[in-house]
């Protein structure tokens, strides 16, 4: 058996020439890197630290070991919030990603006004969340909102979007999907434009239909982008907060059906001044998101094709 000698990659050795080359690279990513380390990483470490302490009001943290976690695992509110975000993710991710993909494909074709349409679909992404929720709240109003009024003209009695626990999460999901379509669409568009047109032509010559072209050419070739979009959409879905915070009061009958984990964290940390328990809740979310992302990373070998 021939033993392969380990050859050092000349690009990675610590020579002056290489430092000159990467030096600028590191310089350019330094601001973002420092920002992430200071603002994000430090926050994560501090949250994990607090979760093992009792931090009430403005008092100093008191070490209490796993007490917060023990309370967490027997807390019905936590399980309810978890169920809520899983329902939200189950609605928004499949529908959102599929619609974004569809839009991206349509807006990649030769149609008039492509640029205009792309702008229109991207507008929700750059709209202020507070303004967005304000308008949607009025649209959803049971008696006077536009949505129910339009349904009336079709003789359909519109549901109580904001007051009924059974449909409230759907109301939040619709706003969520609407907000994210444009962003995912732009990402997928970028991926689509990498697909060589010759492949499509070759498929047509071989007699391939639109659906076949889509499934056999488009999807595999944009799978890296699609993978990224799915992972980030899931992560964002599990962290939903803004829409719920602004559309529902805690005393609303629909509240228990829409309270998310981040809302629960907000409640304990800011309303109840109980930072220790709040931190434990957010660490739980962190672990769950890591686990789900980890599983997805493992599964990508099965369906994501990278051009290596």
């Amino acid at each position: 058996m021939i033993r392969k000698k380990k050859v050092k990659n000349p690009r990675l050795t610590l020579t002056k020439r290489n430092i000159n080359a990467w030096g600028y690279a590191y310089l350019f990513i330094a601001p973002t890197l420092i920002g992430v380390l200071v603002l994000n990483l430090w926050g994560i470490i501090q949250s994990i630290y607090y979760s093992f302490h009792e931090v009430k009001g403005f008092n100093d943290p008191e070490f209490i070991g796993l007490e917060n976690y023990v309370r967490l695992f027997s807390d019905g509110e936590v399980f309810r919030a978890l169920k809520n975000i899983l329902v939200y993710a189950a609605i928004t991710v499949p529908i959102g990603v599929t619609l974004s993909l569809l839009l991206a494909v349509l807006l990649n074709a030769k149609i008039k006004g492509k640029g205009l349409f792309r702008c229109i679909y991207f507008l929700p992404v750059v709209s202020a969340p507070a303004a967005v929720v304000l308008v949607w709240k009025w649209l959803y109003n049971k008696d006077f909102g536009l949505i129910n009024q339009v349904l009336e003209t079709f003789h359909i009695s519109g549901p109580d979007w904001l007051g009924s626990g059974s449909i409230a999460m759907v109301s939040v999901a619709i706003v969520g999907i609407w907000s994210m379509l444009g962003y995912n669409m732009i990402l997928l568009l970028a991926g689509l434009q990498e697909v060589p047109k010759e492949l499509y032509e070759a498929a047509e010559i071989d007699g391939g239909g639109a659906v076949q072209k889509f499934l056999k050419i488009t999807v595999p070739l944009i799978s890296p982008t699609l993978f990224f979009v799915i992972v980030t959409t899931i992560i964002n879905a599990l962290q939903v907060f803004d829409t719920i915070f602004m559309m529902f009061k805690t005393s609303s009958p629909a509240f228990s059906a829409v309270e998310s984990i981040v809302y629960l964290f907000y409640r304990y940390t800011f309303t109840n001044y109980n930072k220790g328990y709040g931190s434990a809740i957010v660490v739980l979310l962190f672990v769950i998101i890591m686990a789900i992302t980890g599983v997805q990373l493992k599964l990508q070998k099965k369906w994501v094709h990278y051009n290596d």
């Binding site: 009430k56 009001g57 403005f58 109003n141 008696d143 805690t250 609303s252 009958p253 629909a254 409640r267």
Partner: protein, 425 residues
Amino acid sequence: MKKYKRIFALLLTVILVFVLGACGNSKNNDGSGDKQASGGEKVELKMIFWDSNQEAGLNDMAEGFMKQNENISVNVEIVPWDEYWTKIQAAAQGGDLPDIVVMHPDQVETYASGGVLMDLTDVLDGEIANRENFPEYVVADFRVDEKDYGIPKDIGTLALYYNKDVFDEAGVEYPSNAWTWEDLSAAAEKLTNEEAGIYGLNADNNGQNFYWNIIWQNGGDVLSEDGKTCTFDSPETIEAMKYAVSFVEKGYSPTPAQFANLTADEYFESGKSAMTFAGSWMLTEYQSVDELNFDVVELPKGKERASICSGMAFSVSANTAYPEEAKKFAEYLGSEEAQLIQAESGAAIPAYSGTQQPWIDQFADFDAAPFVKVEEYGHTSPGFTASTSEATAVLDEYMTQVFSLELPVEEGMKIITDKINETLK
């Protein structure tokens, strides 16, 4: 094309510079920094509050102070209620609390015992803002561990607002200060018009604005005297809650699900609710609705008269860069002069005794005296402080079910009492 690209790039750069410049400027105004105030140097104080309806009034008070103190400038910032406490908390944690913070009786304990508020006992012992001039319960509300942390600002009370037009259309006699519980129910029945979508009364799932008052009017209470036991299940309280919920039961009031779509204020302002229990702090907002023709009477009497009567206070940050000046400003805010300015702006009922009449006189269209009458029989906020605000979560869950008629009143009160007692341990 190249020409347009260059112009575009230039325009973008100019815009960016302006935006960054604006951001930079506002940052400079926020930071109090380590400035030393010596002699004629300009001192900048910042005051923060949550009610935008009172912004003008507070600015007037600040101006009164600035006239007497040429070297001090005051900046008033309004942060909406929903974000106020989050922002204050974060600021206190970061040592960046505004110099003058308006405090709430339910919150002051957390901040005082956390060491972020300045001890103002000597101000209340002084000449200008002496404690004798304020209602004793307001001063007491801001007393923590034998020290005073707030200079009383105002008193907020509740009264019965009614829509004159709706009453006229239904042919019902206007309410009077002599009304009882029976009068209220009878009127609500006559005023409710299902086809027109009009309700007699807003029976909102809200303690401060509705049911605590009803409980007190029946001689009950939500917490025991020492604040250690929950008394929601006392017979008087259960009886009162049954009365409160009866309005929803009989269809005289919107349900919690409806209140999730339109708030109680919106129901009243749009003429869809004929009567509502609301605070003196709602006056400026209701007045701004042109089509709303309203008047005010005292809350109806149960076994006794009762209404919430709570005061807010001006507190000073313990970490302020200008302790002397901030204290002086706080003292001014509690002076007769400043309180009269507050009265004249109609913003809130001043806490200083003898300054309430100008506030009443502000309102020509209706009689505001019922609010001031409450001083005689008012109850302060039940004191669900931060340490017991997990009790609020219990109320949010179970009281909502009671008002939605999904949970019978007696059973609901027992569950609430048990759960709140657990959080109080």
